[in-house]
């Protein structure tokens, strides 16, 4: 009877319903991951600084993220007078929208991908480049001087590091000969020596550090340095404020996932032999993503904040030349056939 009811729907609405279901299957764990990433951050940084971290809510404080979310939901959303109300409330949505939409093309394993589109790498680049609108509009719509200055600052930073990130991705697509993330993952099949981490090591370093800068994380957190710098979200409160942080953490997970897929052999185990191959691909990808996220938290606990001119110098004068040189190196290696085998 259920199949009869299902067949009663026209074909296009069946597609829509299935896709909506799959979106929920992706977004719900992602949101849970975001919540527990904030918990992991507080705990890990706590232990790195020789303190315990949060330990009040639930067993071993596992309910702390839930408590935080409830608290933020119950807070009043204050809209400043003389601000543009529509844009003010649209900005957090624009910040989190691209951060979630990019997950549509992420392959979680050889077969698990919502939309296996041909130019998925470009799609991700295009969507992540849209995240900056949330920040600019937030700064402008609040009609307040400091958020506006903060928005200009972080927008300039994001635009600068996007270029280095884009160039790093050009190296990956040259090596794999494809813009499709699934094929990039498949090209790294085999052992740990087949991962793009080794031939593209400079690009990996540039990509990962640019990713940290792109998400406005420490040591590049001049956008929001919680304790002292006034950022673009000064006028936001409650859930509208939390949305920016949801977007930031979702972007962190996205950057970690992309780095794992493009440089760390995606869902392939490090050694293609028995005990390693027992763990399914999704598990390996999760391990790699967690490792990259751990590095991001480690950065925050370790490094002092960059000065703004140093951030700009690093992006424009160090990373972009490094990526350009390495793209030429890859081109040469592919052209001179003996070394072309490095890239399958």
């Amino acid at each position: 009877m259920l199949t009869n009811m299902w067949n009663w729907f026209p074909g296009w609405s069946q597609t829509v319903i299935i896709d909506l279901g799959l979106i929920i299957v992706i977004v719900l764990p992602l949101m849970l991951g975001v919540a527990y990433l904030t918990y992991a951050e507080r705990k890990i940084i706590g232990y790195m600084q020789m303190r315990i971290g949060p330990n009040r809510v639930g067993p071993r404080d596992w309910l702390q993220p839930i408590a935080d979310a409830l608290k933020l939901l119950l807070k009043e959303i204050i809209v400043p007078t003389n601000s543009n109300k529509f844009l003010f409330l649209l900005a957090p949505v624009l910040a989190i929208g691209p951060a979630l939409a990019a997950w549509a093309v992420i392959p979680f394993s050889d077969t698990l991908v919502l939309a296996n589109i041909d130019a998925s790498l470009l799609f991700i680049l295009a969507l992540t480049s849209m995240g900056v609108y949330g920040i600019i509009i937030a700064g402008w719509a609040a009609n307040s001087k400091y958020p506006f200055l903060g928005a200009m600052r972080s927008a300039a930073q994001m635009v600068a590091y996007e270029i280095a990130m884009g160039f790093a991705l050009v190296g990956v697509l040259m090596a794999a000969g494809s813009l499709n993330l699934r094929e990039i993952g498949l090209a790294q099949a085999g052992n740990i020596s087949d991962w793009y981490l080794w031939p593209l090591l400079p690009l990996f370093v540039v990509y990962f550090i640019s990713g940290v800068a792109e998400t406005n994380r420490a040591p590049f957190d001049v956008a929001e340095g919680e304790s002292e710098i006034v950022g673009f979200h000064l006028e936001y409160s409650g859930m509208s404020f939390a949305m920016f942080f949801l977007a930031e953490y979702a972007n962190m997970i996205l950057i970690a996932t992309l780095a794992s897929i493009m440089f760390l052999g995606a869902w392939h185990p490090p050694f293609d032999v028995a005990p390693f191959t027992w763990i399914p691909g999704l598990g390996w990808l999760a391990v790699k993503v967690c490792l990259m996220l751990f590095f991001m938290l480690w950065f925050r606990a370790t490094f002092p904040r960059y000065r703004y001119d140093q951030i700009m110098r690093l992006g424009w004068k160090v990373f972009i030349p490094v990526t350009l040189v390495w793209i030429v190196v890859i081109g040469g290696a592919i052209f001179l056939s003996p070394w072309g085998d490095v890239f399958h």
């Binding site: 296009w12 589109i117 041909d118 130019a119 470009l122 295009a126 969507l127 609108y133 600019i136």
Partner: protein, 201 residues
């Protein structure tokens, strides 16, 4: 009406609305934001045309880069709306003339025998594994490699020209030398002075 057509009319409707708002809305920042919306919907229409590479590049270049810089400039300018509204009647005849010319040109082009719907072959739908990007790349780097390189060179010249035009050397600008800052030692900055205690007690 199929699902694809519903999508087409939706995106086309939003595109037309956004494009109209770009030129009618008073606030320049909102006008720029509507332009972003228009670009985005145009990209969606291109995806319906199976031109996904062009669509994504439109979003990447225009929405992600050009309009961000546009917004930067527009937000920082203090535009007086009253002054903008002045002289509307003065410029109306010229604007109207251009509009009429444009309409005539469009009608002539669309009605000419060379451009009729019948002249163009129906676009062939490609298989799902057809790589738009690969085909475009192949064409650009083989058949059209010289025009492509010339365009790249022109852009490079434009970049250099833009940088030289805006680069003013000011005598009083102060900047740090990072190499120098990195090589600084504690003894260059800090002098430890031994002082005898001034008073016993």
């Amino acid at each position: 009406m199929g699902f694809e057509q519903i999508l087409f009319y939706f995106f086309a409707g939003v595109l037309l609305f956004a494009a109209t708002m770009v030129i009618t809305i008073r606030n320049p920042v909102k006008s720029a934001l509507f332009l972003v919306l228009a670009f985005f919907n145009a990209a969606a229409l291109w995806i319906l045309l199976e031109a996904e590479f062009l669509a994504i590049v439109l979003v990447l270049v225009y929405v992600g880069a050009v309009m961000v810089l546009f917004l930067f400039v527009v937000m920082m300018l203090d535009i007086n709306l009253v002054k903008l509204r002045e002289g509307f009647g003065e410029y109306l005849p010229y604007g109207g003339l251009v509009a009429v010319l444009l309409v005539i040109e469009l009608v002539v082009v669309l009605n000419s025998p060379q451009f009729g719907l019948g002249e163009m072959p129906d676009p062939v739908g490609q298989a799902a594994d057809y790589s738009n990007t690969r085909e475009l790349g192949r064409l650009l780097y083989t058949t059209y490699v010289y025009p492509f390189e010339i365009a790249a060179l022109l852009l490079l010249v434009a970049i250099i020209a833009a940088i030289t035009l805006t680069m003013r050397k000011r005598k009083d600008t102060r900047y740090q030398n990072p190499a120098q800052q990195m090589s600084v030692q504690a003894k260059d900055r800090l002098r430890v002075v031994k002082m005898p205690a001034e008073r016993k007690g």
